[in-house]
Every structure is written in C-alpha cells, then in structure tokens.
C-alpha cells in the first residue's frame, strides 16, 4: 500500500454510492471479497458493459477518496515520484480495447475439484481502457537499465496479517506500448469494483496482472517474493496427473492466456427453431492472434469454419459466427474450438492443474432443436 493511502478507510464495497455493477444480473461467487461472474448469455456484445463486467477481488474493496489518492513510483528509478490523479490524467492518454480474463475462469469444471472461486465460463469480458502507458510513467521516473521487474501494488487489503496483493510484471511487458494504467473504462470513470481510481491493464495476460486500485509501482532488479508471485498464479512446469500436489519450485508463472473460444448464443440448454440457428461467440488467444474458429454441430464428428468478425484490436476477443440449418429435430452437442496464430488449438480434455487455472477445453453447449 502506498504511503498516501494511510488515512483511507478500507470498507467492503456493498452499498457504496459509486458502486454500479449490476448485482442482480451478475452471479455472486463470493460476496466478500467481491467476486462476480457475468452470465455467458449476457456476453453478447463485443464491448462488455461496465455494469456487467466480471469482478475479481482478492481482498476487501477499498473506498478511495480521489483527493487522498497518490500513485507512488519508486525503486530502481532515477527520479522517484508521486502523482495525483489529475497529474496522471494530464499525461498523454491512449485507449485500447482489451479482453480481460481471470486465470481461474472455468475452475468449476476441473475434476477432481480444485479449491478457489468456482468460476464457470463468465470471468471474462472486453472493455475500452483509457489511460497512460506504463512505459511513459516509467521513463518519466527515469527507469534504470538494471530494472527487470515492475511490482504493482493495489490498495485492497485482507483481514489481519493477510499479505499485500502485489504482482510482478517483467520489464519487456511493462514497457510494451499496450500496457496501460487506466482510469477510464468504456468512456466512463472506473467503477470502484473495477479498480477506481487507477488499474493496470496488462493485455493478453491473465487478469490478475491488471492490478486494481493501484497505488504503488516499484521497479526492481529482481522478481517479487510475495505469495501472489511465488505461490499463486503459477502453473506446473510440466503437465501433471489430476490430483497431484506440485511444489512451487516445479512451477512457472502464468503469463499469456491460452487460446480459447466461448459460445455466447444460443444459450446452453436452450430450445432453438429448426429453420436457422445463428451460433455466435468470441475467441481470444492471449498474446497471439486468433487464426480460426471451428464449430461442430454433431458432437465433434465434423467441423465447419466459422466466420470471424473483423480484427478490431490486437488484444480483444474476436467475434465468430456460424449459421446452422439443423437437418432434424433433437438435442445436439454444439462445440467450438479456436486455433491461434501458432497453430495451437484448444484441448478436448480439461488440463488439470493444482490451482485450477486457464481452463480452455473446447467449448460446448447443448441446443435442443424444436420439431
């Protein structure tokens, strides 16, 4: 936590005036800390509305007075500095559309089950983020050539002796022109649950890098040694059998999201007419491009290439669509699988890992064609 925040009250967000995510439409996976999932059938537009965007919080949502807030930048820099929100807003701004996805999205589908928030498929969303380039801030602070990591610290805190939530971004990603410190989301001031007043946007990488309620950026010659870097958000170096315990030494940090697709319409288990069924959804691939999305309406026996929407932003999900004319009534397993620019494709069997991260098995919905 940054020094400037010492006087800031840390209270749960429930009932705050600034809070405007739609609690009656989101799925409450956890009330405190606040973890809210978007129902997949509401993910129908390329841009996810702010009030429907999933919320992932590690600790209690801080209520930050804009006047008291400062962003402190220090560590391996020549000119440590502290910026007010107005000062951040006066820096050259940029807007990028980025898909964010929680590393634990899909955790509920692992077998054997894995502890943690039981996200199904909706801990993902896309927004236009406006802010300053992290690289610009780091250069202004005189980042040194010896710097290798940038530690991002949010104002959220746990109870008692809970460790500070700090994430560490390697230098090349931190200096990438698409890595932002965002204060606007889809043209509006950030909502409190989404990180007001400032959140990092580390595009293509699992969502926990995009630290909310950002107060402190510390540049370092070494990686951070806290639990959210050395224990959490890590993946086995080599795939392990389901149920295996893996020591942190045998893990690597999660970074870019793997290729994935999501059928958002028609909704799973819905009844559809026999005439023509528009199967649509989104596909994304972390740092890579989506090369192709295939759709199967016969349980994976045959695959058709879906139409891809225009590639409108490098780190945003890409819409896909397939027009299906069912030959007969009945209940169908409809699948989608995306392929990235390296030719990597979604797996068939979920790839179990001890913390239940990056579930990206081919997507499936059941569609019941009326007779």
């Amino acid at each position: 936590m940054a020094p400037g925040l010492a006087a800031t009250a840390l209270v749960p967000s429930l009932g705050l005036a600034r809070q405007a995510v739609s609690k009656d439409r989101l799925i409450i996976r956890s009330a405190r800390p606040e973890d809210l999932e978007t129902p997949v059938h509401l993910l129908t537009s390329w841009i996810t509305p702010n009030e429907l965007f999933y919320v992932r919080s590690h600790f209690y949502t801080p209520s930050i007075a804009e006047s008291a807030w400062r962003l402190r930048v220090d560590g391996d820099v020549g000119s440590p500095m502290e910026l007010t929100l107005d000062e951040v807003r006066r820096l050259r701004s940029t807007t990028t559309v980025v898909t964010l996805e929680c590393a634990g999205n899909g955790r509920a589908f692992f077998d054997p089950p894995v502890a943690g928030v039981q996200w199904e498929k909706g801990a993902v969303g896309t927004a236009a983020w406006t802010g300053v380039r992290l690289a610009d801030v780091l250069r202004t602070a005189g980042v040194r050539a010896s710097a290798r990591y940038v530690w991002l610290d949010g104002a959220d805190e746990g109870l008692g002796r809970a460790p500070d939530f700090i994430r560490s971004v390697p230098m090349d990603k931190a200096m990438h022109p698409d890595t932002l410190l965002a204060y606007r989301m889809n043209g509006e001031t950030l909502l409190v649950p989404h990180g007001f007043p400032l959140r990092a946007i580390v595009p293509g990488w699992e969502g926990a890098y995009s630290v909310k309620w950002l107060t402190h950026i510390q540049v370092s010659t070494r990686d951070h040694d806290g639990p959210f870097v050395q224990a959490g958000y890590r993946y086995p170096r080599r795939p392990v059998p389901p149920g295996t315990l893996v020591s942190p030494a045998d893990t690597v940090p999660l970074r870019a999201l793997p290729v994935k697709s999501l059928i958002t319409s028609p909704a799973d288990n819905s009844m559809v007419p026999r005439s023509a069924v528009r199967i649509s959804g989104f596909a994304w691939a972390g740092d890579e491009e989506v090369r192709r999305v295939d759709v199967s309406t016969d349980n994976g026996r045959t695959w058709m290439t879906a139409q891809l929407g225009r590639d409108r932003a490098r780190y945003a999900w890409r819409p896909f669509e397939y027009l299906w004319r069912p030959s007969d009534a009945g209940s169908y397993v409809v699948l989608s699988r995306a392929v990235d620019s390296r030719g990597l494709v979604q797996p068939i069997v979920p790839e179990w890992n001890p913390a239940g991260y990056v579930w990206n098995a081919i997507d499936q919905v059941r569609l019941n064609v009326a007779s």
Copy 2:
C-alpha cells in the same frame, strides 16, 4: 423356456465345476445375476481368452444337463422340430471370429448417472465362435415366406414373476450367413457363463442379441412384445438432453454397434519411459468396417493415423498401433478415435440416453512419461 427344460435346476453358477471364468481377474459388477467385466489392461490379444471374456447375465445362470437339453424350433415354419445337442453338432458347422460388446458398456461414464450395471470399458471381447448357421436351422425347419422375426429364448430365469428373457432378430439378420448358433468358443465347449450348451451369435449387433443358454427359437410374423424387445435395448429416436425421460413409443431398437476404439496398452494412468511408447488397442464398428483410427498424444490438438492390423474377420475388432516418442516428460492425455466405412467417427461428448447404452465417446488414457 423350452419344454425340454422343465426338469432343469436353475441355480447360481458360483462354484459349478464347469464354471471356469477367472473370477479373481474379472471385475465383479454384480454377483447374482453374474456380470463380470474384463479389466481393459488384460484385453491385449486379438482373441480374448474364454476365462477373461466378459460375462453379462440378465437372470440366474442355469445349469443345464446336456442330456436333458433340447433346442425347439417352431412358430412360422413348416416343420417344427426339436434338436438334441448331438443333432446340432452334426449339422454343417462354421467358425467366425466375432467381437461381442454389451450395449451397456461404458454406462458408468454417463452424466447424469443412469441405472443399470455400471460397466466401465471392458464389457467387450472377441472370440472364435463355432456352430451352425441360424439360416440353415431355419431352412431345415421350413421357415415360411411370411416370417419376419426370429425370437430367441434362453433358459435363464429371474425370481418369481420376472419376464422371460426373449430377444427378437429381424429376418434378414437371422438369415445372414454370419449369424450362428454356437456351441464352441475359441475351440472349447462353451463355458456355462458364456451360454453352454448353445448361444446365438448375432455379429455386429449389441451383445444382448447373442442370447445364451438358448432353448427355443420361435419364428414369427410379428415382433415380440416382451419387455426385452419393447422396453429394454431401445434408444431414443432422436437425441435427447441428458436426464430426459423418453417413452418407449419415442424409441427405436438398438441394433448394430456404433464405431468405437479402445486403448488397451499402456494402461490408463501408467508410467511410461520417455524413449518410445507403443500405444495399442482395438477398434470395431458393428456392421461396418473400421476405416481408420487416429491417435492424439496432445489432448486432441493434433491427430496421427495409427497403423491398422490386418482385417482378419469382418465382425472382429481390428488392432491398431501408434509408436509415440514423447518430446518431454510429464503427464499426457492420449486419445483414440475410430472412423467407420461410412465416415462416421466417435463423438467427443458422450451421447446420453435414458438407459445408458452404446457409450462410444473417443477413448482417453492418461500416460505419465518418466523424466
């Protein structure tokens, strides 16, 4: 039950001298009636040894004295007859290698769960069956042109008012030269659990057509109206959502088995060396031929064509093999999928049906490559 059997004692088979299936190596799914599954890792030879061949019994295993046994053939025939076992053996004999599979094989994998014997993958096996052609017997009995179904009745009986186990074979399948009445299995007299003294072999079709302990063949102008024809061994006319109740009127009889493959070696969850791994198994396709088997060692991302063994018998499973050189240590999901002569391929998601029949999703094993 045939009249000649009125005096036959019906006792459970446990402890009978003639009984020689390997109860310590088979998996006992039910002790009475006797339902025994072959562990997949023992299915390593093209011919399944008699003592390891799966056993499916609907009722209690009858103990039949050869001297008392008769096969009665009547109904829509010009010359009803009754044959002793010696008389059957004196008819022109033939030997065919046929794979039999229980319609419920794989039932344990359906979600939601389905009532019935919880077979996993081993209710399947292949044997050389020696006997007489059913067509020869029917012609000898003077089968009439009006005949449309052949009813097969076994000597097994349930407790109290349980209905007789009778299955009905349409005329063209009954007259097919590969449909047999078998008294030898892999060169030996049938074991009691496998149907001594005589069992039907209806190749390519789900196993329950291959009625054991056969005593009565009734030719008819109509289908049988018993529960094992009108209620059991039926499949929804159209695919239904998991958990749906389906009325018998909306079902059709199960007949030919669908295309399927089974990885028999290495065993699921086993540790394998990094040098070279011989992935092998069998594929079968009911009345169709196996056209191709694909193997994936990367969880369905890419598929390689396996080598198919020689096609040695039309209704026998076909061995396949793929030599894998893992690039790295770790735990791998290895899949197999077979394609039949019509181009039909195994589905990805198990196709749920109310009685849990013909599970034929692509097969998967987990192989752990040593470092």
